[in-house]
Symmetry: C2
């Protein structure tokens, strides 16, 4: 990681969406300079960061490369698609339109239907206006982690395309999203029972350096164990 | 729409995610047979539909075409990507990796970060376990529609790539997502102030038959005005 890296990633140690981008960069061997946005201090809602992303969310990726747009890229799955277009090897999507639709759908079940429900801005609303205490917030987190992961488990266990990974025997965006949910559940000390296929694939992912290095515990700013 | 149509769409008249798929099918001139899933009666959580999509969510698209996978395709944005790969004209994504990343990010701000918060399963939880009354649920809806659309407005108003539509002068996935949020807000009689660029683009979309025909009001099962 040198300051001359082409890409600059606005990130925070424990977030699921930033983890996805870290894993993809690691898999493709792309150097990046990380800039910390302290979500626990609310920096994502500060004036400086809102100029980077008016949605007040990370990750944001700036491409300082030749011919690049000066606009920061935002939203984790669009960033993964972008990196896969620029650096096609190893591919994060399989060959064939139906296969790609399956992988994108598995990824969206987690990055789209699950993760947005447990983000800091939702916590802020529910524990403020919504009147949730800590136990109610925790029950909410468990509800949506469970809903998403159990639906994913059912698909992975039933669908013949599942292999060592979510789709066949190579890593795809779906595995990156799966792992991104499991690592953030660990941060919150939440476990979901009855998802053996999900956990088998998670264990397989963690054998790979690209995933292991992206783990929240090893990022700058993470609390020591 | 004949029963020999290649595609079967599991849908409901008022949902934002199904609307996106309808608009894309209309734009590309693809015939479809719709099968109604009555969300207000909870059919999406019934045993029959959970075999189609374990997430209990629509849309689901079955491709009965030659060589097609028997698995239903799910999640609106992956379905749009799929349709765009199979039927490239008119394209729902622009040329160039940075441009595609921008369009996918604008789309994900709404389909990913906004819409999942106001789905029936979230309503069920908040008005049950969460203790929300009707007014609290409505305030919740307004909060997330406003957050998503105001962030979108800021990007559209500032970023030079914005044209007649969200990205230049052709319809993309971003416009489809924008319109999908506005139409469902109308169903719920919710208005968000201070989004002139969003509303200008919405008006432009509605001049097109592909959008007008997909309007929730004209779908089977919609209440008469």
């Amino acid at each position: 990681m040198s300051s001359s890296a082409r890409f600059e990633l606005f990130s925070y140690w424990r977030t699921s969406a930033t983890y996805r981008v870290r894993v993809a960069l690691n898999l493709k061997g792309i150097a990046v300079q990380e800039t910390n946005v302290d979500l626990d201090a609310g920096e994502q809602r500060g004036e400086a960061f809102l100029k980077i992303n008016p949605m007040g969310a990370i990750p944001a990726l700036i491409d300082h490369g030749p011919g690049a747009s000066p606009l920061p890229l935002t939203q984790s799955l669009p960033i993964l698609e972008f990196l896969d277009e620029l650096y096609p090897t190893p591919a994060l999507l399989p060959q064939g339109a139906h296969a790609r639709a399956r992988v994108r759908s598995l990824a969206a079940m987690l990055a789209g239907d699950t993760h947005p429900l447990i983000t800091p801005r939702v916590r802020k609303y529910l524990t403020g206006t919504g009147g949730f205490d800590d136990a109610a917030w925790r029950a909410w987190q468990i509800q949506w982690f469970s809903t998403g992961l159990r639906a994913l488990e059912q698909r992975l266990a039933q669908e013949p395309e599942t292999g060592d990974f979510c789709h066949g025997d190579s890593v795809t965006m779906a595995d990156i999203c799966l792992a991104s949910i499991i690592v953030v559940m660990r941060v919150f000390r939440i476990e979901v029972e009855g998802i053996p296929t999900v956990m088998r694939i998670m264990a397989r992912c963690e054998q790979m350096e690209a995933f292991a290095k992206a783990d929240p515990r090893w990022q700058a700013g993470a609390p020591s164990a």
